[in-house]
Subunit: 402 residues, 2 copies
C-alpha cells in the first residue's frame, strides 16, 4: 500500500542464498500492492576486497579512481538481485547511481547528495516495476562517479524515501531492531518498538552501530518514517519517528557502550583566558573530533583540562599538543586508553529530573568509579575504566529496565 | 608523435603485477610524446566468474541485467590501472563506456556501436591526460548499459581509433603477432611483419583467434592501422593494413586450422529446383551459420548435399532437418564430428595460379584425403579427417614456407 523504500546491507546480500531471501522479502512487499524501491549494498566483503586490491597496486590512489572502483560492488548486487526477481516472475529493473539521477557534489569518497532527479525511478515505478538501486553512489556535475562514504547506502535510502515521499523506509540489517542495550552483553535487553530521531542520533554517535548518523539526520529533517529490522528473522523491527507513543512512560530508551575512547589530560596549565581556545583550536585544525571536555577547578593559579577522543585520533592529538607545548603552556600530558564511555539516552529524561542521579546510584552500588561526566538534554554519558564497562552497562540496565 | 590507441586483453591485466607491466607500456608511449587512449578488458577470469555467479542465481536472467553485471569487470580494470599510473606520477583518468560517450543500439549482450561522442575523451586528452576506457561496453538511448559481446574490447578500440583518427591502434594480447601457422603446432612458423585486412579477416574466421572479425572489418572500413603485439615480450608485432609491402613475393601468408567443425550430409535428395533453398533457409531461420557447402553431381535423379557448421550448431542443425524431413525430402542424414578445416590464406594468390594445386600436392604427399574443398579469392580451405589435421598443417607449411 503506497510506496515503500527498502534498504539491505552487505551481510543481507552476501551470498546467492541470501540474495534469494532478500528477493522474497521484496516480492512479498510488492505482492501486497506496494510500489517498491530497493537500495542494496555490495555483497559481504566485496568493498573490503576491492580496497585491498587497490592498496596492493597503489596505497595512495586518488579518491576519484577509488570511487570508480568501489561503485562496481553495488552494481553487481543490484544486477544479481534483479536476475533473481526476474526468475521469480516479477517485473524489475536495476539502476546505478547515475542512472537513478543521484546527483552529488564532488567530494569523492564522502560525497553529499545534492539532488535526486526522480524521473527515471518514477518512470520505472509507473510501469509497475520493482526498482533496485545501487546504494552508496552517485554522479557529480562532471559526470564522474562518486561514493557517499560510510553509511552511504543508508543515506541513499533515506534520500530516495524523502524525494519520493515514501510512506516508509525500511532499513534491513543483521540485527532485528534497536535494543535497550547490546543484547550480546545484557541478556535482559529488550527490543524497542519505537524510538525518536533524537534518541537514535544520540545512540548512533554513542557506538550503537545500527544506523549511520547522516541517514538519521536526513530522516529527521524530511520526516521520513524509518524502520530498522532484520532480513533474517522476519519479525517487526524498531520504528524511528519524530514523536513516539511512550506508553510505558519510559524515561530512558537505551544504555550504550562505546569502548573506542581515549582520555587525554593536559596538566599544569596557567589559569588565564585563552588556554582552552589554544588547545582545542589546534586540535580542530588537525581534524580531531573532541567529545567530552572536563576542566578542573583552579588551584595555585594552575588548572588541568581533560578530554576524550576516538582511539584512532589519540596519537595525532598528543603530537599536536607536544608541537604546541610552548604556545599552550602546560607541564605534562596524561594519556589513558583503558577507558570506556557508558551512556543512557531517552527523550523522556527532559521532563523527568533525577534520571542522572539514578544512573550514578547504579554505578555507585556496583563500585564503579566515574572519571568524567557529560550531559545533553536527552543523554547522560560517563567515562569509566574499560574493565568496569560491561558490569556498569548491566547495572544501569537493571536499574532502569529491571 | 600523434595519437595512439592501445588495447590490452584480459590476460594482460589478470594480476596486479601484470597491471603494473601494462602501466609501464602505456607510460612509455606517453613519455615519447604521444597522446594515449587505452582500452582495457576485465581482469583474467572476472567475466567468467560473474557469469557463473549469475547462473547460480538465475540461468535465464535477462541480457539487460547481465550487461549491468558484466560491465563492472572492465570498470574495475580501468580504475586499478589508473591508480597504478597515478602512482608512477602521470596524469590519467579512467572512463566507463557511458562516460566515454560510447553509444550503442539496444541489443544487450551483442550491442553494435552507433556513435562515439568524443567530447569527453578529447577534453581529457587536451589536458594531457592518459585516458583509460572500459572496453566491451556502451550505453543505449535509454541510458542503460550494454555490452558489445565477444571481441567487444577489440571493437571498442578500433571504434575509438577510427573516431579520433588515431595514427595507430595497438592490440596487445598474449601472442606477439600473426604467424604463418600456429607456433604451438608448427615449430618453423614465422611471425609476419605485415598482413592485409582481408587476410586477417580470413584468418580470424578460420580459427586463428588473434583479432575478432568485427574489429578487423571496422578497421578495414575506416582504414585504421592495426598492430597485434604481445604485452609480455616487448617485441614488434604484426601490422594489419590495406596494402602491405610484399618484399618476399609471398603467395601465402599463413596456414590455419579450425578443428571446431562438423560435417552434415543430406542424402537422397530429389534433383529438382528449390532443394538447396529449403535446406538452407530452414537452417538460417534457426540461426545456424553454414560454412562450406558441397553438392554432389546427380545420379538416378538423386543428389546429396553436404555442408559444415560449427560443432556447437551440429545438434540444432540435425533437429531442424529432421523436423522438415517431409518438406525437404531426403532419405537419410550423415553427421561427422571427426573432421577439421585446414586453410591457406594469402592476398598474393589472386595473381598466382597454381597455389591451390601446391596445397593439394602437399596433402597428397602426406597421404591426407580431402573431403571437401572451398575457395575464395585469397583463401583455399579443405575439410579433412581430424586425425590428419596437424600433419596436414605441417606439410602445407613446409611446402610454402620450407
Amino acid at each position: 500500500m503506497g510506496l515503500i523504500v527498502q534498504k539491505f546491507g552487505g551481510s543481507s546480500v552476501a551470498t546467492p542464498d541470501r540474495i534469494r531471501n532478500v528477493a522474497r522479502i521484496i516480492t512479498d512487499t510488492y505482492q501486497k500492492g506496494s510500489q517498491v524501491v530497493v537500495i542494496l549494498s555490495a555483497m559481504g566483503d566485496t568493498t573490503d576486497d576491492l580496497i585491498a586490491l587497490a592498496n596492493e597496486i597503489n596505497p595512495n590512489g586518488s579518491r576519484r579512481e577509488m570511487d570508480m572502483l568501489l561503485s562496481t560492488g553495488e552494481q553487481v548486487s543490484v544486477a544479481l538481485c534483479a536476475m533473481c526477481i526476474e526468475g521469480m516472475g516479477f517485473p524489475v529493473v536495476s539502476l546505478t547511481g547515475w542512472q537513478a539521477g543521484m546527483e552529488t557534489n564532488s567530494s569523492y569518497g564522502s560525497a553529499r547528495i545534492k539532488r535526486l532527479d526522480k524521473d527515471r525511478i518514477e518512470r520505472e515505478l509507473d510501469q509497475r516495476r520493482i526498482v533496485l538501486l545501487a546504494g552508496f553512489q552517485g554522479v557529480n556535475s562532471f559526470g564522474d562517479i562518486t561514493t557517499l562514504g560510510r553509511g552511504g547506502s543508508d543515506t541513499s535510502a533515506v534520500a530516495v524515501a524523502a524525494t519520493l515521499h515514501a510512506d516508509l523506509c525500511q532499513i534491513y540489517t543483521d540485527v532485528d531492531g534497536v535494543y535497550t542495550a547490546d543484547p550480546r552483553m545484557v541478556k535482559e535487553a529488550r527490543k524497542l518498538d519505537e524510538i525518536t530521531f533524537d534518541e537514535m542520533l544520540e545512540l548512533a554517535s554513542l557506538g550503537a552501530q545500527v544506523l549511520h548518523n547522516r541517514s538519521v539526520e536526513m530522516a529527521k529533517r524530511y520526516n521520513v518514517h524509518l524502520e530498522v529490522l532484520s532480513s533474517f528473522s522476519g519479525k517487526p523491527g524498531t520504528k524511528v519517528k519524530e514523536v513516539v507513543k511512550n506508553v510505558e512512560k519510559m524515561m530512558v530508551s537505551g544504555v550504550a557502550l562505546d569502548p573506542n575512547v581515549a582520555r587525554i589530560a593536559v596538566l599544569g596549565l596557567d589559569d588565564c583566558p585563552g588556554v582552552a581556545f589554544r588547545i582545542f583550536s589546534q586540535l580542530a585544525k588537525a581534524g580531531v573530533n573532541v567529545d567530552i571536555i572536563l576542566q578542573s577547578t583552579s588551584r595555585d593559579n594552575k588548572k588541568d583540562i581533560s578530554f576524550t577522543v576516538e582511539k584512532v585520533d589519540r596519537d595525532k592529538s598528543v603530537q599536536v599538543l607536544e608541537e604546541n607545548r610552548e604556545r599552550i603552556g602546560f607541564s605534562s600530558l596524561e594519556v589513558d586508553d583503558s577507558v570506556a564511555k557508558v551512556s543512557i539516552v531517552g527523550a523522556g529524561m527532559q521532563h523527568n529530573p533525577g534520571v542522572a542521579a539514578r544512573m550514578f546510584e547504579a554505578l555507585s552500588n556496583s563500585q564503579v568509579n566515574i572519571h568524567m561526566i557529560s550531559t545533553s538534554e536527552i543523554k547522560v554519558s560517563v567515562l569509566i575504566d574499560a574493565c568496569n564497562a560491561e558490569r556498569a552497562v548491566q547495572a544501569i540496565h537493571d536499574k532502569f529496565f529491571g
